[in-house]
């Protein structure tokens, strides 16, 4: 009986993390969808997590209000951040936004009120697996509806040729800023949910490696479809669980094995499936078509 409960606990946490990582992957997808490699999302998630935790613990705010703030506050922070940095392109935007994330993390480490590097503990557990997945579903649905709309086409145009998009009357700065805000809101929401699922938040949970994970989810899953980043997040969140079972038989520690396999998968996807896992069915079809005699 105890064994069963334990199994359920690990299983439940994995399912929850697929949802949380799915939200974080979508938060990177939003900016990628208009061609912007913005990587400040660990910082946005941290702002959301701390804001929500402080609201429920210190202000005794209802959980719904805390979650709303977890999404709204990072979106607001994204405005003064985005206006100057969205002038940057490609790798420079990535570096500037990573810098933002690190500033948030180091700021939290040095902030006595939130216990510095130790972070906040004993946050009430209010986020259920079901809630996490419902919110992920809503985010997925809204982003899916955006594609193919006037705004979706504008984002696609910006991604494919920004100057041409501008001459067609698209205010590219506004669109890029809007998507940065949406991404910040999704990351903050994931942060707020995570804080109330694991009862604790600490600055190190929002380090640079976290945003690399989010980017890898999105790239491995593929951004050609909205559900790609979620597929990538699910695949790469389940993988360590599988490896944990396998690694004792190979005589390797699960930690290093996870990094190795993650790296290999990323490499394989970039080399053979540049559109990510979502393009697997098409790749398969084309291979079958190529094999069939003419």
């Amino acid at each position: 009986m105890e064994w069963l409960l334990e199994e359920y606990a690990t299983y439940q946490s994995t399912v929850a993390y697929i949802g949380l990582n799915g939200l974080l992957a979508l938060s990177v997808y939003t900016t990628l969808s208009c061609g912007q490699l913005a990587l400040g999302n660990a910082g946005f998630a941290a702002i959301g997590a701390y804001a929500a935790a402080l609201l429920t613990m210190n202000a005794h705010a209802p959980f719904a209000v805390a979650l709303l703030a977890a999404a709204a506050l990072p979106a607001l922070v994204a405005v003064p951040l985005g206006l100057p940095v969205l002038r940057l392109k490609g790798i420079f935007l990535a570096i500037a936004t990573i810098g933002f994330g690190e500033v948030v993390r180091i700021g939290l480490v040095n902030w006595e009120y939130v216990n510095g590097a130790q972070g906040l503990v004993a946050i009430p557990q209010k986020a259920s697996v079901g809630l996490i997945w419902i919110l992920l579903g809503v985010a997925l649905l809204l982003l899916w509806r955006l594609r193919g709309s006037k705004w979706g086409f504008a984002l696609e145009a910006i991604r494919q040729d920004e100057p041409a998009a501008r001459t067609l009357g698209i205010d590219t700065t506004r669109y890029k800023l809007a998507m940065l805000m949406v991404g910040a809101a999704l990351a903050g929401l994931a942060g707020g949910l995570e804080a109330h699922f694991t009862f604790m938040v600490a600055p190190n949970g929002f380090a640079f490696t976290r945003v690399v994970d989010m980017l890898v989810f999105a790239v491995v899953g593929g951004v050609a479809a909205v559900w790609g980043p979620i597929l990538g997040a699910a695949f790469l969140t389940l993988l360590p669980e599988v490896l944990r079972e396998v690694s004792p038989h190979l005589g390797i520690e699960p930690g290093p094995l996870r990094l190795l396999v993650n790296g290999l998968i990323l490499l394989a996807v970039i080399l053979f499936l540049p559109q990510g896992l979502v393009s697997l069915p098409r790749w398969w079809q084309e291979r079958r078509g190529a094999r069939r005699p003419a």
Partner: protein, 255 residues
């Protein structure tokens, strides 16, 4: 003649020490096709880039309907009713011909975001109308059968025509065409010439940069000739064609 739609005054664009446009002035009347010609490097494309806002002039003025255009960002200039095509085609390669034209309708469409996100029927209706308008424009440029092709899979001449359809989708007052027939065969050139006349007949002005002198002589109401960024001739095609300065610029000074 009616009042000018576009007025360019003492326009100057310096790239470091090079003056690509050096004090050029000309005007385009409403509903007219105005040719902008000149030898290679005369500054024609630079003028198009300045009018569409991709470049900001170092000096001089550009006015549309009497109000200044220079200094505005490209999307604001587009909103004032200026659309353009590019010498080096700049379609969105992974979008279909129809979707490229739908992007061109950006300024004309007024859908409701809430209706779209909540899958309300009103948004479906608006989208169907927009698609129908896009298809009609593609039919007008002779691409009715290529609506669903990705832009990257279209031929060179077809891509140029999609660009024209995309520019027309914004229902511009002024259409800037930068070498619209480059790489086209003679039949396609004739089709584009007819299309340009139709656009003018709709009451839109066209500023046409073109190397095909026959086309320019055939479709333009007025012509400005640039050389080294300066206007060396301006007027009716027949007069410009026999202007000694123009002949010298194109063929060199008589021996």
């Amino acid at each position: 003649m009616s009042a000018p739609l576009l007025e360019v005054g003492a326009l100057e664009m310096a790239f470091g020490g090079v003056r690509a446009v050096d004090g050029a002035s000309f005007a385009v009347a409403a509903g007219q096709v105005h040719g902008l010609i000149g030898p290679n490097g005369a500054g024609k494309t630079t003028v198009i880039n300045l009018v569409s806002g991709l470049l900001a002039p170092t000096a001089g003025a550009i006015a549309l309907e009497g109000r200044p255009l220079h200094g505005l960002p490209p999307h604001r200039i587009a909103a004032r009713g200026v659309a353009r095509t590019f010498q080096s085609i700049r379609l969105f390669p992974d979008l279909s011909a129809r979707d490229n034209v739908l992007v061109g309708q950006h300024l004309r469409r007024r859908p409701s975001l809430a209706a779209r996100l909540l899958m309300l029927p009103a948004s479906r209706a608006e989208e169907r109308q927009a698609s129908a308008r896009a298809d009609a424009l593609l039919e007008r440029v002779g691409l009715a059968g290529r609506i669903h092709q990705k832009a990257r899979h279209l031929s060179y001449g077809e891509q140029r025509r999609v660009e024209i359809a995309r520019a027309l989708a914004s229902e511009p007052h002024l259409l800037l065409l930068d070498e619209p027939t480059a790489g086209m065969n003679p039949v396609e050139v004739q089709e584009v010439a007819a299309l340009i006349r139709q656009v003018a007949a709709d009451g839109r002005s066209v500023l046409l940069v073109e190397h095909n002198v026959r086309l320019v002589m055939d479709v333009c109401d007025t012509i400005t000739v640039l050389n080294f960024g300066r206007v060396i001739a301006d007027g009716k095609p027949a007069a410009v064609a026999v202007d000694p300065a123009v002949i010298t610029a194109y063929l060199g000074a008589p021996a």
